[in-house]
Amino acid sequence: MGTQLVCKNAALGYEGRIVAQKIDFTVSSGDYLCIMGENGSGKSTLIKAILGLKPQMSGEIKWCGDIAGREIGYLPQQTLVQRDFPASVREIVISGCLSKCSWRPFYTRKEKDLAEKNMKRLGIEGLSKRCYRDLSGGQQQRVLLARALCAAEKMLLLDEPVTGLDPKAQAEMYELIAGLNAEGVTIIMVSHDITAAVKYSSHILHIGRKKQLFFGKTEDYVNSPVGRSFLATEGGDDDE
């Protein structure tokens, strides 16, 4: 269980305004970390900092062990552009391999095989020629997940992966992610859904307004004051 990511006393924000500070957590290989918090608590800023898109204002976020820098598969929230984008499933999945190409303009056999493998892994190999915009929400998320797996095998960063899915597709998505985690993929997931977070994750990071409220094992979270009050108020509804 090697440590993969360490975040020490990090302050996050943009344009000089701090949105969250004193963020401390570590992620080890095989963990399933859920990042919880209300809107505006700096979850997406934290993701950008982890991905290296927007550096933290102070403190440090450090990769260690077998993960170097950008070896992280990212599942972003869907954008408006993608909704009517003409692209086949295969084209999208293989675009995850691009970081492995450095300056080579075309994909080699190795990358094509990797794309095949990940499509099989997520059960979408039958859709490979279908158009992305004709798929259901759950299928689209699988495509993007396969792309993320092409970019990195060891760690996935998922930004609210079930938003906009119907309950059945949500449950399937969670099972799929749990399955990948069982295969040894480290998962970091941003979520609103406390019920699923408690059910699937191994660790929870809860960010409140401007500061960190909790980080630790999920079973400790359930028994902590923060976790109990959050579960009591939000436990019932997971449609946010």
Partner: protein
Amino acid sequence: MNEFITKLSDYLSHSFIQYAFIVSVLIAVCSSVLGVPLVLKRFSFIGDGLSHVAFGALSIATTFSFMLRGIAYSANGREIKSETAAKLIELIADSNNMIIILPVTVIAAVLLLRTNQNAKIKGDAAVAMISVSALAIGYLLMNKFPSSSALSSDVCNTLFGSILTLQENDVMLCLILSVVVMAVFVFFYNRIFAVTFDETFSKATGIKTDHLNMLIAIITALVIVIAMKLIGSLLVSALIIFPALSSMRVYRSFRSVVICSMILSVFCSVAGIIASIFWSTPAGSTIVAVYLAAFLVFTFISFIMGRKKK
């Protein structure tokens, strides 16, 4: 039909008609492939803004070469101190104005992209501002320093195209720029796809998305400069937008959309030129009319296909 072919082959024996066909095919290919990512990235407005900037740049260049000619003439008229200098000035003045138009348009492309990324100044307003100013200043300069007596036909030519006045060096320039644009597009094809589909993801996996966007803007500028001669600066965006929009109606993968736009665009431009020759209509607007017709046909096809599915 026979009459049609004899008439066409008769026309094709003229070099300026041949030039028109070569240039229009080259431009059709470049503008259509580039149009796909531009439309999908919601960058179509950059094409429109740039074409107006190119018009402004053209009139500045014309003014500039008009002044240079004046200097060269007066230098020749008095004591010919340095004949080489006078010749050099004339050479610059004759160089098709591209020395000025190309860099100005490229710089404008870069600036437009920047303002679009800057959340404080709204991109569309900035584009509108730049393009209207360029148009106004261009027309103002053309009036103040007319390069020929037929001012209104000059303006009309730059705004709506003058494909039948192409010279051999125009064709060469067009050929070189098209090769550059196509080479860049093919080499960066996979990256352009990735960055168009999902900029955040590409950035997170280490692709230099800002550089790539810049590159797209620059080759767009090149395409617009070469297309302006064919179809005029007011109609240039049609070449970029229509093929992509039409093929997106019917085709459902990125590659097939790119290939279809290319074929459709070549077909429409050639058909447009032939039509303009036969009916003696202005080439630029005829080509755009053919594009529009193709778009309507494709929309109809997609409508039929959609109904069949249900």
